[in-house]
Amino acid sequence: MVRFKNRWLLVEFIPIDVRPTNSTAVTSKTVWNALKESVIFNFGETGWGAVGGSLTVKYFSPMTGICIIRVARDHHRIAWGAVTLITSLDGFRYIPRTVHVAGTIKKAQLAAIQHDREVVARLRSKYKTSSPGDEYTAYLTSSRANIEAIQE
């Protein structure tokens, strides 16, 4: 028997518009809805039929804007294309950028943790803070725990 194969897309949503603080936060549900809309919008019912059964958003981090999307390997390019063609979430514009495409959940998790560290390093150099016990360290620990908790 051959196991069922997936692709794991690690996608970063780069915000363009500044969200007002009182607006509802983006969740993985929002991303999933936007993704579904984009697949149907660009690839029609056939496209949604090909990827809809397996498409799930496994993780979304509002702080760094990264999410992990699972899709069956056969038509993952449709899902990937639909991710690229997303222009906005909840009416706010974003640039989706695929950071990594992984064949197993493990590699997707590792790439996500790596990416989190890079983002935090960038923020730190921007605000010139490097104390070991600051909020970023706490965030890294918690996000790492969250990412590692993702089950297939």
């Binding site: 780069i14 660009n42 990937w80 690229t84 514009r93 640039i95 695929t98």
Partner: protein, 305 residues
């Protein structure tokens, strides 16, 4: 492999009381912001695309952009060819000095006549070569002319590439634009067999930018093979930029190779020392010889290009 985006659109706004060869500060801010976004997305070579309608008159101003480490910013000129420009659109020797300020010249034909002009006449090597043939993929459901195979083949042989800008595929409010783009981009991919294609941005705002591998994936949905889609953002533009540099050199010579006579050991490996060469062959070790010859002929072929 570095990634290239050879189309960061710069269309100077027409305002009263503003010199046409001046850049206003909002325009510069927009360029800077878009370059920052492109760098973040992973591009390292960016061409600012100055688009002019029907006729080239004067070069774009000095953009005065901030220097960035490890990022190369080029200047590109695109002339949109319409019926008015069939008699001449400024790519003449009189303008050669002002055209020399651009790294790449490209043409965007919108009529049959100007398309064959772009493919046949202006792709010939010389100081005024237009290396990129861009097409308006999104304004009409079908291209205004048939992409004849002979024209395409001549243009590609002369070293021109065909451009597919991806920004119209993202236009959220205009479904006709998107549909037209998918149909016409497929057509371009079909006639070129996916080779000699350049994928580039072509957007006016930050929201129209996408990361290189995302764009390559969208291109595979157009029926371009994976490796060729990736090449369209890296190797093709790289060789294009190199080729475009030959516009500024005498007879397209890029460097002057020096002849160095090999020492006796090297002569042996090159297979020039016939006595030893025979011995070497007899011992069944001719790999060096064949390796060398094939590589040198490869260089010769590259030179002829």
């Amino acid at each position: 492999m570095p990634f290239f985006d050879l189309s960061l659109i710069f269309e100077p706004a027409k305002q009263k009381g503003k010199q046409p060869n001046e850049i206003s500060s909002p325009e510069r801010h927009s360029l800077e912001a878009r370059i920052d976004a492109l760098v973040h997305l992973g591009y390292t070579v960016i061409a600012i695309n100055h688009v002019v309608q029907s006729k080239f008159q004067q070069p774009a101003p000095d953009f005065g952009l901030r220097k960035r480490d490890g990022v190369i910013i080029l200047r590109r000129l695109t002339i949109v060819l319409d019926e008015a420009s069939e008699k001449g659109f400024g790519l003449t020797n009189n303008n050669a000095s002002s055209l020399a300020s651009y790294d790449i010249i490209s043409l965007l034909p919108t009529t049959q006549t100007s398309f064959s002009l772009a493919c046949l006449t202006h792709s010939m090597p010389g100081p005024l070569t237009a290396h990129i043939i861009s097409l308006d993929l999104s304004s009409q459901p079908r291209l205004p002319f048939y992409l004849k195979h002979t024209l395409i083949r001549t243009a590609i042989r002369n070293g021109a590439v065909f451009e597919i800008p991806y920004a119209p595929a993202l236009s959220p409010n205009d479904e006709h634009k998107r549909r037209n783009w998918w149909a016409n981009a497929r057509e371009v991919a079909r006639v070129t067999h996916g080779k000699s294609i350049l994928l580039s941005g072509g957007g006016q705002t930050i929201a129209d930018l996408r990361a290189p591998l995302d764009v390559a994936n969208v291109a595979t949905l157009l029926g371009i093979a994976q490796n060729l889609a990736r090449d369209a953002l890296s190797t093709t533009p790289k060789s294009l930029v190199l080729r475009a540099q030959t516009r500024k050199t005498y007879r397209a010579v890029l460097s002057e190779p020096k002849l160095m006579l090999p020492s006796s050991t090297q002569r042996f490996f090159l297979g020039l020392d016939t006595n030893r060469y025979v011995n070497c062959r007899a011992s069944g070790d001719g790999s060096h010889v064949y390796g060398r010859t094939s590589r040198s002929s490869h260089f010769a072929a590259a030179y002829r290009k």
